[in-house]
Structure formats: structure tokens, C-alpha cells
């Protein structure tokens, strides 16, 4: 173990701090540390699964709650993938040294949510996708927000718990005929109340992940 090269690295990074290659490198390293390429692949797989389900008319027998199980599961799964991709492996050291970290966290969350919306909206032609593209945007944004909130509170590895719990609650609420806007998945696609509630959840999640970040798995305390 030597100190060779340590003296030159800070100067190089500092000098290149504002340049495009450095920004690209930072973005690439950040994406790699969050497994964003894998997350994008999984989002594409979820979208493909939804496309097959819609094309083959897979359906769960029952009322409106049962009929939405597959699309809602796909949307919640996409939100869960986004949530677990936002924690890094470096913990405190990264938070202490990375001044661009909050912006990278925000940008990654927004980009993944947009990608999730894109692949899920493209999964089904108009008429097959319940509620159409607007409903997908609302549901994915809202559930991603819940996932990000969960990642910020419980820890990044458990960010999936929020969308999973919301999925169960949505199904139970739809089965019971609830119409509260907080169960936005059960509202019509252009419903203002549902959109506002989903938007609030999304904004809260993005704010939490930007300001506090996702807690990573601890090696000295906590689970796993």
C-alpha cells in the first residue's frame, strides 16, 4: 500500500470539476454505484411482462380490485426498483464529500421514474392499459414517492416495503369500494384529487431523497 498518486488526484478533480467529462464520469460512477443500469433493465423487464399480460388478457377473476392486480403490481414493482436503487455503498463518507450528491440523487430518481413511466405506458395500447398513460404516470409517480420516503426513513434496502404495502392497501381499498384520493389507483385517470395526492407523495419522496438521501445498510448495527 503506497501513497503514490494521492497528491495529484484532488488537483485533477478540482480542475476538472466544472468540465463535461468530469460531470459525465461522476454521473457514470454514481449510476454504477446505484446499479442504475440493472434497474433500467428490470424496469424494461417489468414493462415487457405487463405488455405480455395485457396482450394475452391475463386477468384475475373478481371485481375492480382483482382486475387491477397485474397492472398495479407492475407499477408498484417499478416503484420498488426505483426505491432500492437509490442507496449507495459508501455511506457517511459519500455524504461528507459529495457536494453534487443531492442533485445526483434527485436526478436519478426523476430519471428512473420517467423511465418507468415510459416502459409501462408503452406496454399496453390505448384501451388495454387501465386508465391509460395518465393513470400510469400518476400511479408510478405516487408509488415511487412512497418508495423514496421509505428508503429515506427505513433505509434504501427496504424502500420496496412502501410500494408493496401500498399495493396491498390499494387492493383492499378497491375491494371495499373506497374512493379516497389517497387511493389514487382507484380514481379516474383525470381525477384532480388523485393526481394531487400522488403528486404530494412524489414530491415528498423526491424531497426526502434529495435532502437526506437513502440510508444504506449498516455493517455495525441494524439488520442484514
Amino acid at each position: 500500500m503506497t501513497a503514490a498518486g494521492l497528491d495529484s488526484s484532488p488537483r485533477k478533480v478540482s480542475a476538472a470539476g466544472g468540465s463535461a467529462p468530469a460531470a459525465m464520469r461522476l454521473t457514470r460512477l454514481y449510476a454504477a454505484s446505484r446499479r442504475i443500469p440493472v434497474a433500467l433493465g428490470l424496469l424494461a423487464a417489468v414493462g415487457a411482462l405487463l405488455a405480455v399480460a395485457l396482450d394475452q388478457h391475463w386477468a384475475i377473476a373478481g371485481g375492480p380490485a382483482a382486475q387491477r392486480v397485474i397492472p398495479l403490481s407492475a407499477e408498484a414493482c417499478a416503484a420498488a426498483v426505483i426505491a432500492v436503487s437509490c442507496h449507495g455503498p459508501f455511506g457517511e463518507a459519500e455524504r461528507a464529500t459529495g457536494r453534487w450528491l443531492p442533485w445526483l440523487q434527485l436526478a436519478a430518481a426523476v430519471a428512473l421514474t420517467a423511465a418507468a413511466f415510459g416502459v409501462l405506458a408503452a406496454a399496453g395500447p390505448a384501451g388495454l392499459l387501465p386508465g391509460g398513460a395518465w393513470a400510469v404516470l400518476r400511479n408510478v409517480a405516487g408509488m415511487s414517492g412512497l418508495g423514496l420516503l421509505c428508503a429515506s426513513g427505513l433505509g434504501g434496502p427496504f424502500g420496496w416495503v412502501g410500494p408493496a404495502a401500498y399495493l396491498v392497501i390499494s387492493e383492499a381499498g378497491l375491494a371495499a369500494g373506497w374512493s379516497t384520493p389517497w387511493l389514487w389507483a382507484g380514481r379516474p385517470p383525470h381525477d384532480l384529487g388523485g393526481a394531487v395526492c400522488a403528486g404530494v407523495a412524489c414530491a415528498a419522496g423526491l424531497a426526502a431523497i434529495t435532502l437526506t438521501g437513502a440510508r444504506g445498510p449498516s455493517r455495525s448495527a441494524g439488520p442484514g
Binding site: 446499479r35 440493472v38 434497474a39 428490470l42 386477468a59 384475475i60 377473476a61 373478481g62 382483482a66 392486480v69 397485474i70 403490481s73 408498484a76 414493482c77 420498488a80 426498483v81 426505491a83 432500492v84 436503487s85 442507496h87 427505513l154 434504501g156 434496502p157 427496504f158 420496496w160 416495503v161 408493496a164 404495502a165 399495493l167 396491498v168 392497501i169 387492493e171 383492499a172 375491494a175 371495499a176 445498510p217 455493517r219 439488520p223 442484514g224
Partner: protein, 505 residues
Amino acid sequence: MTAAVTAPARPGLPHAAAAPLTFARLVRIELRRNAVPWVVPVMAALLWFDSYRPSTAVPAFWMLRTFWNMGQGHTIIDTGPLVAGVAAWMGSRDARRGMADLAAAAARPRWTAQLATWAATAAWAVGAYLALTGALFAVYAAQGLRGTPPWWWLATGAVAVAAFSAAGFAVGALFPSRFAAPLAAFGAFLAMGTSSQAGFSATSGWALLLPTNANGNYQVPTGIDYHYLPDLPIARLMFLGGIAVAAVGLLGLRERAGGQRLRAAAAAVTLAGVAATATAVGLATTARQAADGIVIPALHDAASDRPLSYTPSCQRAGDVPVCLNPVFGSLLAGVTAGLRPALAAVAGLPGAPARVTEVAGTYTANEGSSGQAMTISGRPPVLRLPLDAETLPGSFGQTPAEFAGQLQVLFLEAFTGTSSGSGSPAQHAVLAALLQQAGQPFGAQPALLAMAGPGAPGPGPGGAAGPVYAAARRLAALPAATRHAWLAGHLAALRSGAITLGQLP
């Protein structure tokens, strides 16, 4: 620095005794370092929201209150996916932390260490499930639920949770990644959703093993008039336990899991799990529908078919004693009051019951049907009332008045011979006239008949009009003595279908 050296060494344990002790220590460490407790509050919230809250909308009988959360398996839907996700996280821990090689070189075989991690995860998960459902049952008990609790279904749920933990752990161990947990959780949820698809519609065959399937195996007579038949729960325990064992055994098949003998043992464990699952599927295909639930001949104990004995509780509706299972004691007054005007309307006529007694309802192939027909038989005639197969007051918002109307319809259908679901126009006209005499206005009868059950065709669609209701109004308008005399002379012919609408007075 030297004190430790001078301390006497403890005598070592024999090798055979040391191995389980080390495993127990590993499990104890894993119990302290487990992630399941972190999601227990979420599981508790989901159980309250999805399993307990909807159940309060039905009357206070064990079988009705637990239909949604035990019969249709919602306690498993609420906990299983979370358990699968966390188990996947625990299963992928060593690889995520880059410790796979280190762990493979440790003194204990890799599979043993993984078994300890899984055992701790399963212990937390099953313990949390039992604690939460135990609390649910305690709340029910405090509410004074009648009947007996579904202990077999509770055991099935616990084993289902263990199966989810094993499957999730295997996913995490075989495909270690930060994404293993959400994929295991949502895969489990989707599996539960699609099993609901089969479970809600399939009434026979292997799909009966799905813990969301209540068809023909979870209906109200059980726990009140019948024992819980353990046949299907035993098959489900084999099925789910087999999945758990096979998933855990699968981890020991990998090259770095341990020595050759250990991997051979893992192969045997995997095969045993697969065999248990396949046996359960085979047993389920032999299942048949019986009056008291699903019977699997190879697992069936005929003693389970004996009805539960009880000393009936009785009240009098006029001169007629009405006797029910004491489990229905809270309904006795309502049943007596509901039947009283209908019994009075037929008093003195041939076939009028001298006694009303509650009998066990019969299981149906689906999730249970309300409005099962009453029967009148014996000498003196006895009205047999399958109360546990009727829609009870409080179920789905049914009012006591609607309950009384349902009893009157079902009784008078049995009396006029229309309870088979068909009946001649003359029989329906007499039924309508007697219902009117019992206090049910003609205008309210079509809705009442539609509500009373599948075997209750209304005298005419689209309201109380048409020739049937015209004849009924004519009959009802007769003086009571004239109507009574005509019915006394023609009831036998009416019941046999020999009377036409035009022959009514």
C-alpha cells in the same frame, strides 16, 4: 495479558454434541441480526387494515369473521410477500457484502451457515405471524365470537409463511443483488394474486391446496354444527412444507455449499420436499365434496364427520317451540319473532309444523351459498331450519326485518312446496298470499324473494304484477275462514302441482 493464559481450559465437548450447539449459537446470532423485525410493524398495519377491518362487517361467528382472513388467506397475502422480500435480503447478505469466498472457507459448511440464517429468518417470520394472528384471535375472543376458532387454518398460514421465507431466501442466495428483495416480494404477491384466480374459481383438484382457496372447505356450518375437517389443511401443510424444504435443500446442492456428503444430504432433503409437495397434489386430486367440507379419503377420519352435540335453546312462537343450537342463542328471539306471523298464517292447516328445529347446513362447492331451503317432514311435522346456511342479520348490512322476511319466505316455500326452486304459478300465488298474510306487502315481495336465496323464484319479474299476483290478491281478499277452508282442502293437491292458477278461488 497473562491472566487468560493461567485460566484453566474448559473441557471440550464431544464432537457430536458440539455441532448442534454451534448451530444453535449461529441461530442465536442470526436472530439478533435479522431484518424481519423491521417489517413487523408494516405486517401488523396490513393485517389490521386488510384482514381485521373488513371482517368486522359480518356477524360475530368465528367462521364468518375469519372467512376473509383465514378462508381466503388474506393474513398470508398481508405477510407472505414482505417475508419473502426480507428473506431474500437475508439470503443475499454474504454475496452483497463480498463475503461469499470468506464464508465458504469458514469452519462450518456454507449450507449449515445458510440454514442458520434461514432458520432465524423463518423463526422471526413465523413467530411474528403467530403473534399477530394470535392477537387477532384474542380480539375476536374478547368480542365473544360464537363457534370455534379455525386452528388448522392458523397452522397452515404459519407454514405458508415459512414457505415464503424459504423461497425468498433461496432467491436471495442464488441471485444476490439489492433487487432480489423487491423481486421476491412482488413475485410472491403476484403468486398470491394468481393463486387467488385459481383459488376463487377452482372447486376441485390441486388448486384446493392454494391457501387462498375457500371453495367447499370454509363455510359457516363448521365450528357450529360440524368439526373443522383436517383433511385439506393436512394436505396444505404437506404442500407448503414441501416447498419450504425443497427451497432450503436447493441451497445445499451448490458446489461451495459443503462436502460431498453434505451435498448428498441436501439432495435428499430437496427430493423429500418435492415428494411431499407432489404427494399433497396427488392427495388433493382425490378430494371430494362432503356435507361438512372437503374429504380426502387417505387422510379422513370418520369421527370428524360426527356433528357437534348440543342442548338446544328454545322459545315459543305461539304454540310452536322454536329450538336452535345455543351458538345461535343471540338470534333465537329474532328467529322466533320472524317465524311467528308465518306460523300463525298456516296454523291448523295440514303440514303446519308442530316444532321448529335448527339443523346443520350443507357445504356447497363454491364459497358457500345463503338461502338454503328449509324442509318440513315427520309426524308431527317438524320444520328443519339450516340457520348456518342463511344470510344472518348483520351480514352485508342485512337488517333484522330483512332477516325475518328471509325466514318467512324460506318457511312458506317449504310449506307450499316451492322450495325446490321451481313451483307452479298456483303455488307461487298461494305463497304470495301467505306472505301477505304474514305481514309482507305484495309490493315488497319481489325484492324479498330475490334476496331470500337462489331457490326462490319470484312470482313474476318486474314487480308485483301479472296473473300470479292477481290470483294472490284474489286469495288474500277472501275472508280468513274461507281461505283457511280452501287451503285445508287443497293443500295436498297444490303441493303436488295439480292445482292451476285458474282453480284458485
